[in-house]
């Protein structure tokens, strides 16, 4: 059997980040990517938090083909007949190195693959891996078609579906309770129109999340990210929620209805839909992260369940890059020690525990459970809008004092047993 030091399965951000680190240190690495190019099978909602990962490969993030630094954060609570938007426009978001950027994966991943090539790594696109090879309880290589190739270590960065990791016994089959469906349209708009519609300085971007009627009360929400000359407009909806809903709303119709809402329609007016894409998202949190390493392998990125939906911040790509980075470091240590067993690779998980990746996931341990609260996606967005409606209302008769108006709304919609129960749950967030 032909053999290389390291095979990376999957040319996404986790796999490429691992390969970049390995190739940069002179290790022999081969990335196998099933798409025609890195990024061809990948979908993001649209935003990468660069702050957490800027320290890894700092030379890369200066020149990465990002779309726009996010200078405006918006959250819209959508109720029936009313919606409330909270908007943060802060210099701190973009002063100095920006915190986050909108991205298009076809561009970003292709570029990162080129960087891996420049470091001497081999990226093979159009190559689907069919199986992880196991021998005596150890991952020893991969099979692609009829070819079997051996490796000291296989970086399993195959993505969320675990079509390879599960049969090899490295991780569980994805469960609908821990996964959401994300799908979106990329809608082309001229840069100037984007900047006008979201009040942006030239080159800067906005990120907008929507809760409430978007998903018809099901767990999930809508999102909108401004790219250079397009916007990504989409919906995330819990798979379990869709099935439990019972009304059998066809998923693709949610996005179409979202687009038709009076709040959204003017935002996309005049735009040309250029692409439609969908992807599954792991949302099980820390409780569903499998063991991240073993004899001859490490798991990284979505395949390892490393993503975090904290309602206002949705993260995954930064975790993928960080896990790839730490995987590379651990493998280099294993190489130096000549030990590619679980013991030799254990520093990978240790490093992730020390880093923001598992720390942030640990902090967010209660999120997945909290997300199950149905009121979060149905009653509360409406209640928030009703509260503000009351506050801003001047009726025909005498108007009650502001505080009284607000208090009435709070009492009506928030001081209820169910809400207090939710608040009790939320204390852990």
């Amino acid at each position: 059997m032909e053999k290389v030091e390291c095979i990376v399965v999957g040319g996404g951000l986790a796999g490429l980040s691992a390969a970049y680190g390995l190739a940069g240190a002179g290790a022999e690495v081969m990335v196998l990517e099933r798409g025609d190019y890195a990024g061809a099978k990948n979908v993001t909602g649209g935003r990468l938090y660069v702050s957490p990962i800027r320290g890894f490969y700092p030379e890369l993030w200066e020149e990465a083909p990002f779309e726009r630094p996010v200078a405006r954060e918006l959250i819209t609570m959508m109720g029936d007949g009313a919606h409330t938007t909270f908007e943060l426009a802060s210099d701190h978001l973009v002063a100095g190195p920006p915190q986050s950027y909108t991205v298009v994966r076809a561009r970003l991943d292709q570029w990162l693959a080129e960087k891996v090539g420049e470091k001497g790594g081999m990226v093979v696109p159009g190559m689907k891996v069919d199986e992880l090879l196991r021998k005596d309880g150890r991952i020893v290589g991969i099979r692609a078609g009829e070819d079997e190739i051996g490796a000291d270590v296989v970086v399993v960065a195959e993505g969320v579906l675990r079509l390879l990791a599960e049969p090899a016994g490295l991780a569980a089959r994805p469960d609908e309770k821990d996964h959401a469906l994300g799908y979106k349209e990329v809608i082309e708009l001229p840069a100037g129109v984007i900047e006008d519609r979201w009040n942006l300085n030239p080159g800067e971007g906005a990120a907008q999340l929507f809760l409430g009627t978007v998903t018809d009360g099901m767990m999930g929400g809508g999102f909108l990210y401004t790219n250079k000359e397009s916007i990504s407009l989409g919906v995330v909806v819990g798979m379990h929620a869709m099935k439990a809903d019972g009304r059998e709303i066809e998923s693709h119709q949610l996005l179409e209805r979202f687009k038709e809402l009076p709040q959204i329609k003017p935002l996309v007016a005049g735009g040309t839909v250029a692409e439609y894409s969908a992807h599954a998202i792991p949302e099980g949190g820390i409780a569903k992260v499998p063991r991240l390493y073993g004899d001859g392998y490490v798991l990284a990125g979505d395949a390892a369940g490393l993503s975090l939906n904290a309602l206002v911040t949705v993260r995954g790509m930064d975790f993928a890059i960080a896990s790839g980075y730490h995987a590379a470091q651990a493998m280099l240590r294993a190489k130096a020690a000549g030990d590619f067993s679980a013991a030799g690779l254990a520093s990978y998980e240790a490093a992730l525990r020390d880093s923001f990746v598992l720390k942030d996931l640990e902090t967010a341990r209660a999120y997945p459970q909290f997300m199950e609260v149905p009121r979060l996606f149905r009653q509360y967005p409406t209640a928030v809008s009703r509260l503000f409606e009351d506050v801003f209302t001047v009726g025909p008769g005498p108007t009650p004092p502001l505080v009284k108006k607000a208090w009435r709304g709070v009492k009506r919609d928030f001081l209820r047993p169910s809400t207090l129960q939710d608040a009790w749950l939320a204390r852990k967030l």
Binding site: D36, G117, P125, M127, D147, I149, E188, T272, A274
Partner: protein
């Protein structure tokens, strides 16, 4: 039999999209033309049957990308690759490309059979093979859907407008193939890994005795835009019977039926 397959790398035409009538090729990956792969597959099969070797020849600006795409030809089964490095390759016209190919073929130690796809995946002019054949003074057959070695000749079957022709050409000869000739193999991982160690030569124009000045294009592209269709866009509504009625009436009125 020594076979030279001329290949060209292009932005994958399936990935090119149109925005404001302009083709968008930014971020579109380059790949070997589909018909070039048919030609390569033909060459590999003829070589495997008749012996000899297959050289993949391309004219391009040498960069990492061309080296990677030409590796696809080696991974499929070509034995060697030759890249003629012309910094102005993108602006050469068909006569220019043919001049370069003919000069490169003359520099190769041997060439019995020259294979091409019937057209490139971007421009599809089909001119280069016949220009090369003329420059080299060899006979040519276009649109072959079967190619076999027959001693010191090559036998081709081709499908023309009303007839199927079987032709024999004495070697050396030039042949272009159509897509139905074969299903190009998808290189296996092992072959891709080994392709890197197959010989790839990069020749400059000077190496093949050419001067860039002699390759000035005769054709000039004035514009390249998506077509504006001037159509009526009348859609009939109503019940199926009403639709059919209105539709057929319109065709009658246009004079395309019922004359």
């Amino acid at each position: 039999m020594d076979i030279v397959v001329c290949v060209k790398t292009n932005p994958d035409p399936q990935m090119v999209r149109i925005k404001d009538r302009e083709p968008v090729i930014e971020a579109v990956p380059f790949k070997l033309g589909d018909l070039d792969k048919n030609a390569l597959e033909t060459a590999i099969q003829v070589r495997d049957a008749a012996g000899g070797k297959v050289v993949a020849l391309t004219v391009a600006e040498t960069n990492r990308k061309i080296k990677e795409t030409i590796k696809d030809a080696l991974a499929m089964g070509a034995d060697e690759a030759v890249i003629v490095d012309d910094p102005a390759a993108a602006t050469l016209d068909q006569a220019g490309v043919a001049t370069v190919i003919a000069a490169a073929v003359k520099k190769l130690p041997a060439c019995d059979l020259l294979l091409f796809g019937e057209g490139s995946s971007d421009n599809y002019t089909g001119q280069v093979p016949s220009r090369v054949a003329e420059k080299l003074g060899v006979p040519q057959v276009g649109y072959a859907r079967k190619v076999e070695a027959a001693g010191d000749a090559v036998r081709c079957e081709r499908s023309m407008d009303e007839m199927i022709e079987t032709l024999e050409l004495p070697l050396p000869a030039a042949v272009t193939v159509v897509s139905e000739i074969n299903e190009p193999r998808i290189p296996s991982l092992m072959h891709i890994m080994k392709a890197g160690s197959k010989p790839t030569q990069v020749w400059s124009l000077a190496d093949i005795g050419l001067d860039a000045g002699a390759l000035a294009p005769k054709q000039e592209v004035l514009s390249n835009l998506a077509e504006e269709q001037d159509r009526k866009h009348i859609v009939f509504e109503g019940t199926v019977a009403e639709q059919a009625e209105a539709f057929v009436n319109a065709l009658v009125k246009e004079g395309v039926v019922g004359r």
